[in-house]
Structure formats: C-alpha cells, structure tokens
Amino acid sequence: MADWISDKGLQTATGPRAAGRRWGLVVDLDRCTGCGGCVIACHAENNLALAGPLDTDQGRSFDWIRIERYWDGEYPDLKAQFIPIMCQQCEAAPCEPVCPVFATYHTAEGLNAMVYNRCIGTRFCENNDPYNVRYFNWFEPALNWPDPLANQLNPAVTVRSRGVMEKCTFCVQRIRDHEELARIEGRVMKDGEFTTACAQSCSAKVLIFGDLDDPGSEVSQLVQSDRRFRLFESLGTEPVVYYLKGGQG
C-alpha cells in the first residue's frame, strides 16, 4: 500500500498505465468443474474471516472469489454453467471515484487497491460495483477466529476488522514478494514465476494470472482467443479479468 501517495491524482476513470506492468487474469470456463479449490485457497491466503451460520444467512460471509452457477431449462432438459467471479480490477472502475476518502483507488500497475485503514465504511463502492465482489466486514476479528484458529493467519496480509470494505486484491502480497525477490536478484520478473492463490490451487488450470502488457506472457496469448469475453462489457468498466467461454468453439 506504500505507493498510494505517488499514485494520488492518477485515479482517473481510465486508469493509469505507468508501471510497465498490467496485471490480468484469464478464466477458462471450459476447464472449470466448480470444485471450489480456488474459493478456499483465497480464504487461506487472504485471512478471510468466518461469519458463522446466522451471519452467513444474512449475506455477511466472505468469498473474494465465488463460484456462480446459472440455470437454464427444466429437468431433464437442463443446463447449468459455473463461473468463478472475483474482483474484475476494472480499468474504469465505477467503485473508485465514489469513495469519499480515496480508500479504494487504481494503482500504476492496474490494480484496484484497498487501503483498509482509510476506509470509513460508507459502502458507496459496494453500491457502485456491478459485479457484487466487494464485501463489507461486519466482524471484530477476534470473535471470528476462535482460539487457536487465529494461528493460521497469514502475516503478509492485513486482518481486516469491522467497518471496512474488502475484496480480491489479485494477491498483491505475492506480487510485492516477487518484485522484491527479482529486485534483490537483479533481474526482471519472469512470467509465471508466481501466481495468485486461487490460480495456484486450481488443478484444472482454469485461472491464469500474468502481465497483459508482456506480449510473451501466457495471459497475453490467451486473451487473443476468440472465446474471450468480459463480464458486462457493455458497461464500459474495462475489466482485466478475461473469460474464455465454455462449450464448443
């Protein structure tokens, strides 16, 4: 989060393109079995709190990535389709300009970032988010990590407390780790040298993460596919999550 000052003023609707890197995610729907490995991987990596049955029932549980399913038809002529949905890290993110305290903003490498300790919980961003991927935290953390469960928390990721908005970060801590590693080793980061927690756990290789501005990266190759589409393309939000549609073709 250290770069928020230098990025100040860059949070325009079209987003900055300065860092020479533009992170993106490709989701090949033709490979996904809906197994949910990615969902729990994200919980484990990013310290997602437990809500418990009553609060889950109230819609207060967290899934920075979730598997949606869409039904069509009636039994027995039925179809369904899974689609993993996470923050689309839109280049023209409608959630960003409405934050009165700049808690959510666009970074130079195209991430839709959250500065948790600036967030005052107005939830305007959630209201303006067409993808429903922002989650309001209703909980004091200690209550939701019964002892000694808190020992599993990942020290590289902030534990959010009540009153802040949270969402998929494209596992920014992993990006930072590897940037640092490359810097120490005096080299440039290689495509595929790390990936997000969800992509790492997916046995089916549905999720591919990488730099869209690197013409040699796997994501750059995959987004050439004529199976590609983006969610709510018509809204002009310019997501950097590209889906490859399922089925033949």
């Binding site: 090949d28 899934d63 039994y75 020992n151 534990v159 997916c202 549609k245 033949q248």
Partner: protein
C-alpha cells in the same frame, strides 16, 4: 543443528517458552541472537509433503512462517494433483488449529465422560487463550495498519499455556500404559478399525501389531465403500483395483452417476484430467456426457445430460453394447430408464464414432442394489470400445514404489457389520479406533452404539472429537499430518507409481502424539517389541528398502531425496489388464425399501463437495462455503423439484419432515431444478452427535458445550437410510430408501438452512446475477 532440531525449534511459536519448573516440557528458549537454520523472520519456508485429508494422496507444500504452518499448496508436477489442491486440502490447516482439537491424552474412568484431569487441562488452556495469550495478540498485531507480526509476546497467558503443555505431556506415559493393558487384555480379540489416514507404512505397522497380538488384520472403514466397483472391475478387467481413468487423453467421457470431479476418490486428479481433456490438445476438445438422476456438478459442465430413473444407469450402458454380450435395444433402454430414445441414440452414435472413449461408473450407480451388474455393464463399454490398456481409456495402475505401501482396500459394509455383530456378541475385548469414526459408515438403522458399548476397552486415536471417540475409555490423539511422519500412495490409478513421504513441518501444536509412536511404545510395554524406536525411525527403516540410485555418482539416499521433493514417482502403468467382454444378463432392476404409496419419493443421498468423506464437516471453512450447486452452507437441507414443491405448496426455507420407515429428519427446503419430480436429495453432511462445534448438535469440547448448540447441525441422512446390502459386493445400498415429505407448516429456524446465494430460490428476481445470466444465455453451451 540437524533438521529434527530445527523442527523442534521452529515449533517454538506453536508451543512456547520453557519457564521454571517444567523440566519435562520439550520446547525451549530461543535466543534472539541465534537464528535457527532455515528460519528467517517473516519469510516462509516450504516443506514438501502430502495431503492426508482424503484417499487421493495429493503432493503438497506446507508454508511455514516462524514455526506456524499457514497454508498448504499443491506440489508442482505431482502426478495426482499437478500443482493444484482441492477445497478440503486448502482447509486442512484448520485441523491443525482446530478449537476443539484434543489437547492431549484423556484416560477416562467413566465411558463418555472426560476425566477430571482432562477437564482441568481444558480449563487451563482456555484461561491461557482468554488472558493475554498469543492468538489474540496475533490478531491485534495484524489488524489494520500493522502489516506483520511483532515478536510473540510471552506473558501471563503463555505461562499458563506452558503449564498446560507440561501437564499434558506428563499424562502420556500413563496413557501408553493404559493402552498396553488394553492390548494385553484384548489379545487375539482385539479389533483394529482404521480410517484412510492409516495407509502406507502406518497401515503396515498396525498390521504388524495385529500379527503380534494374533488378532485379525486392521479393517479399513470408509463411509463410501468401493466394493461394488472392485467386484465389477475384477469381473471385467480381471483385477479389482481402481484403475487409472485417463481423462486427459480421451475424446469422449461417459460418466454414469455424477460426482467424479468434485467429491470422488481423487477430485484433484480428475479435475486436472477434465481440464486437460477439454483444452490441453490444440485440435481436440474432449466431450463429456453425464447419465444420472440428480443433475450435479459434473452434469453442469457436461455437453449433455441424460436423465434416468434411480438405479437404471446400467440399462443405458447395455443399450450401447452389442447384443451378443447382452446389449439391449434403444427402445428397451428408454422404457427402463425414462430417458428419451433420441438422446440414447445420439449417445450411441458418439460412442461409435469418437475414440478413445472412456466410461466411468460413479457413486450414484454404486449406491444401488444392482450396483455390480450396472458397473460391470459400464466397464464393458470400455472393453467393447477397445479402451482398455489404451491412452485415453482405462489403464492398469502400477504397483507402488515400495511393495507394502499398496493402498489397503476398505472393508465392505457386510464385513463391517459382521465385526459389529461380533462386538454385540461380546466377542471383541479391545477396540482400537485409529483415526476413524465408524458411525459414518453405518446407517442409524443398525445399533452400532449398542454393539460398541459391549466392548470392555475402547481406545480412540482421533485428533478431533467424533461419535466413536465419545465412547472411548482412552483417547490418545494422533498428531495431524502436518506434525508427523507418514507415507501414502493414491487410492486410484493416476498413471504413475507414486509414493509420498509425509514429513512434519511443525511440532505438534497441542500435546498429541503420532499413532505410530504410541503403538510402538504401548506394544513394547505389552511385550510385543515391533522393532522400532519411534515413528521417525520406523519410516526411515521402511524407506531404506528403496535401493539408492547408483547410476549417478553422489546421488542422495532415497530418504533424503524424498524429503526434498515429497516422495518418489515414476511414470509407469501396471501389467496390462486381461479384460474380456462379459456376457450380461438382462438389466437387473434396482430394489427400493418403502411402499411407494406412503413413501412416494426416492431418496438420493448426495456425496457432497463440501463434506466429502466426513472430514470436511468438522472444518469451519468447509461448512461456511456454499456448495457449488445449491450454495448451501452450514449443515444440511433437502432438495425438491420445483413442480413437486408447487404441488406440496412448499416455498424455500419451509421446514419439512422427511420420513422413511427407519426414521425422520426435519430439514429446510431448497427448490432445486436438478431432480426428477419423484425424488428428493439430501447431502451427506456427516453431522455427529458428539463432534466438534462445527459439525454436531451438542458439539465441541465439553468445556464449551453449553455455548455451542446450533439447530443446524445434527441432522444427517444416515438417520433415514434403510440397511440394504448390495448382494454381490456387500456394499451398503444407500440409494435404496424411499421417503415421504410432509410440510410442518413452519419455516426453519434462523441458521438451520443457510444459502450463500439466494438466487437459485428466486429466478424471477431481477437482481444482478440474473442480469449476468441473461448475458450468458447467448453462449453456445454444449
């Protein structure tokens, strides 16, 4: 410092500081000036190991930061999971820090009652947590604004924590002596029931113990036996083992009964295979057709779904076979199954034209009274299509790298029941429940509690509370797979010979001990020296059987190499199957219990992606995650077809009484489009009576029992099941029960039916997901 010392040190934050007067406590002071080898504050260390949450045996890397294991990742390139990990594997770290984990051994004087010493210990531990203890400190340090841990703060709480640890450590010798006496009194009448984590050389050690006692060999208990599949495989492929299904190279996969990718025996392997089948080959996109009753996860990703009446899957397979081997006509198959003749014909065309084709029978088929003939007909499709011993088809699994590591076959329900009858008859003197809750494998219709009650001595090795453990006289909790040694081979063929070596990335968080350490010590005390000092020495000796690779000078020993890479594997397949096309009789009709007039619905118990073989239900993330089809969380529900619901005037969240001739359950209604009108489905959520706070009605440790009663837990489909046995294999036919559904006129109490997304309940609601849905409808699905 050797690695073992490092492990002890790195376990420091997971144990604690030694304070005066606790000489027998094994942790020690860490001098700030001396940094343990491999430990850089804030930097993760990865240990190659394997996941033990299910029989799949995925390779894993444990991420350890400053003595705490934080996350499990898939081991890149591992032949089972190819770098991925399933939801249950990802949640496994919650076993390690489970709030209801046994703190240490408990020698009970009254069965079912924790000892006063254990209760005192529990109190001490909780006081340690409640005071300025580390877990709360962890959160304070990590909250908003502070990006990393401070130095762990050893204050009052940790003193209590250390006291508790020391106190527990002191009870181990007495617990081992108690076990030794139990082994002596049991002798040849000792019954050893084991769960899936007792495999590889852990299983071999228990077999050695049984031999020393002249007792029967350990009996493997799995809630879903695969006996019918094994019997059918033996009849068709010539050998009973579970083969390699080479999905990745197949052009057409026909899946009968729906659950392979998400809750089968090796979900990661099959999910990987599915992804590769679809998109790993530049010019080929493999097709998937699902034949089933309930439209589940695999049907959702299939190109076509052929709906059949419960238990009639085999007839579709027979319609594709030549009449010389018992094939039937398409019209006949359509009449028997209720499927449309056009769909069957289309499938027959695909089956004839696409090669290689792979037919797989799933648990929906195996759950019926005609499981063996149906599974044999499905296996015969592979023989008739020339898919046996062929890439993209069915391959023989190679033998494991070390001979006695072969995965043990679970006992059939019939065999389990015979053992239970022996217990009831008073023929068993000592019962060892080794990482297994036998109640998960029995319908409530069988009085297992009454049978077990007759055994004079019961010891449980479970890490978490469960119903079997609640009946034990002695609890000697096993360490988790992140704290002990072990080895494993996959339960199903994966196209390679795989031997995983499981190593302990951290010390036990509480005062648990690995099964093998306890067994070796107790057996020795009982006069049966099994020849090894402890678990580590035992596994080293077993792996020394592997010949070192002398072809390359300076190569490390197999043990050292396996520690580094997580085990050994070589691509291989077993000796080819000697398959032959069976001559099938006319399709065998499934039998159901319950009068259709009074019990109008087939009960479809669903093997759940969330709860899997039972371990999932104890972990809060697995409970809270909405399952892929229904988005159901926290416990169970009943799925009802929309038209049936309309007829019964049922709305979502209404409470109904689902009743069989055996028992009844009160459940919340989910209106589910993926079922026929005359069937209802209930996930197998493996609720327990005396489990953890997350999976039982009165659950959790006794200390907190009063605070944790939750109306959502405790309702399990096992209460409804008839005890029907598939005659050819002895497997429990858990799909053979008919039920009635009666509205109670109430809605379920809050928290009893929890759906993460309400969208499936309100298709007409113009909320966001449906907007997306409209956009998706233009997809060329299938």
């Amino acid at each position: 410092m050797d690695r073992r010392d490092f492990l002890k040190l790195s376990g420091l934050t997971a144990s604690t500081l030694v304070l005066g007067g606790c000489e027998d406590y094994h942790a020690r002071l860490e001098a700030y000036a001396v940094r343990p080898e491999d430990m850089v504050p804030g930097m993760p260390t990865y240990f190659a190991t394997a996941c033990e949450m299910c029989p799949a045996a995925c390779g894993a890397m444990a991420r350890v930061v400053e003595g705490r294991v934080l996350k499990l990742e898939g081991l890149p390139g591992h032949p089972v999971n190819h770098g991925g990990l399933c939801a249950l594997g990802q949640a496994s770290v919650q076993m390690e820090y489970h709030p209801d984990r046994f703190y240490g051994p408990d020698i009970r004087t009254t069965r079912g009652q924790p000892s006063t010493e254990y209760l005192a210990l529990e109190r001490t531990v909780h006081e340690a947590f409640a005071s300025t203890s580390r877990p709360t400190k962890l959160i304070d340090n990590m909250k908003v604004g502070v990006m990393s841990f401070g130095k762990p703060d050893f204050k009052l709480g940790d003193r209590k924590w250390a006291d508790a640890h020391a106190q527990t450590a002191r009870t181990w010798p007495a617990a081992i002596s108690r076990l030794a006496r139990g082994l002596t009194s049991g002798g040849a009448a000792t019954l050893i029931l084991v769960g899936h984590q007792i495999r590889g050389h852990r299983h071999a050690l228990l077999a050695d113990l049984a031999t020393a006692l002249k007792a029967p060999a350990p009996v493997v208990v799995e809630p879903f036996g695969d006996d019918a599949t094994r019997v059918a495989n033996a009849a068709v492929y010539g050998r009973p083992e579970l083969p390699t299904y080479d999905l990745a190279n197949s052009e057409l996969v026909i899946l009968f009964g729906d659950d392979l990718f998400t809750s089968g025996l090796a979900p990661t392997y099959y999910t990987w295979g599915y992804g590769a089948m679809r998109r790993a080959r530049p010019d080929i996109r493999g097709m998937l057709v699902v034949v089933g009753t309930r439209f589940g996860e695999a049907a959702a990703v299939a190109d076509a779904f052929i709906a059949v009446r419960p238990g009639t899957h085999g007839a579709i397979a027979q319609a594709l076979l030549p009449s010389s081997s018992g094939g039937i006509s398409l019209a006949q198959a359509a009449t028997l199954t209720g499927a449309s003749p056009d769909q069957i014909e289309e499938l027959a065309l695909l089956y004839r034209t696409l090669k290689p084709v792979l037919a797989i029978g799933g648990t929906e088929v195996a759950a019926q009274t005609n499981a063996v003939p149906a599974l044999a007909a499905i296996a015969a499709l592979n023989v008739a299509a020339g898919s046996v011993n062929r890439a993209g088809g069915v391959l023989a699994p190679p033998p494991p790298p070390i001979a006695d590591m072969a995965p043990p076959a679970p006992a059939s329900y019939r065999v389990l029941r015979q053992w239970a009858d022996s217990m009831a008859a008073g023929a068993i003197q000592s019962l060892l429940l080794v990482n297994v809750d036998p109640f998960l494998a029995f319908p409530d219709a069988y009085d297992l509690q009454g049978a077990i009650q007759k055994v004079p001595f019961i010891a449980s090795f479970s890490t978490l509370p469960d119903d079997g453990t609640a009946m034990a006289d002695l609890i000697v909790p096993d360490s988790t797979f992140l704290e002990r040694w072990g080895d494993s081979t996959p339960a199903v063929g994966v196209g390679a010979a795989v031997g995983n070596l499981i190593q302990p990335p951290v010390d036990p968080f509480f005062a648990s001990k690995p099964v093998e350490d306890v067994i070796l010590a107790a057996a020795k005390e009982a006069g049966h020296d099994l020849g090894h000092a402890d678990g580590e020495a035992y596994f080293k000796a077993m792996w020394a059987k592997l010949a070192p690779d002398t072809s390359v000078p300076g190569t490390q020993s197999p043990w050292v190499k396996a520690l580094r890479v997580g085990g050994i594997s070589r691509s291989a397949s077993g000796p080819d199957y000697d398959a032959h096309l069976p001559i099938l009789t006319a399709p065998v009709a499934p039998a159901f219990r319950g009068d259709p007039a009074t019990r109008p619905f087939h009960l479809v118990p669903v093997r759940s992606t969330k709860y899997r073989n039972g371990l999932g239900s104890a972990l809060p993330w697995m409970q809270e995650w909405g399952d892929p089809m229904v988005t159901g969380a926290w416990g169970g529900w009943v799925e009802i077809n929309p038209k049936t619901a309309a007829r019964l005037e049922l709305n979502p969240y209404d409470e109904v009484k689902v009743e069989s001739d055996r028992g009844s359950l009160l459940l919340g209604v989910v209106i589910y489009p993926g079922l026929p009108e005359d069937a209802v489905a209930i996930p197998l959520n493996f609720s327990r009576v005396c489990g953890t706070r997350y999976d039982s009605a009165a659950g959790g440790s006794v200390w907190e029992a009063t605070q944790k009663v939750d109306p959502g837990r405790g309702a399990d489909v096992r209460a409804l099941l008839e005890e029907v046995i598939e005659p050819r294999s002895g497997q429990l036919a858990w799909g053979a029960t008919r039920v009635s559904v009666t509205p109670t006129g109430r809605q379920v109490p809050p928290g009893k039916l929890v759906l993460v997304s309400k969208s499936i309940q309100a298709q007409e609601n113009p909320a966001l997901p449906h907007v997306i849905h409209r956009e998706f409808k233009v997809w060329p699905i299938g």
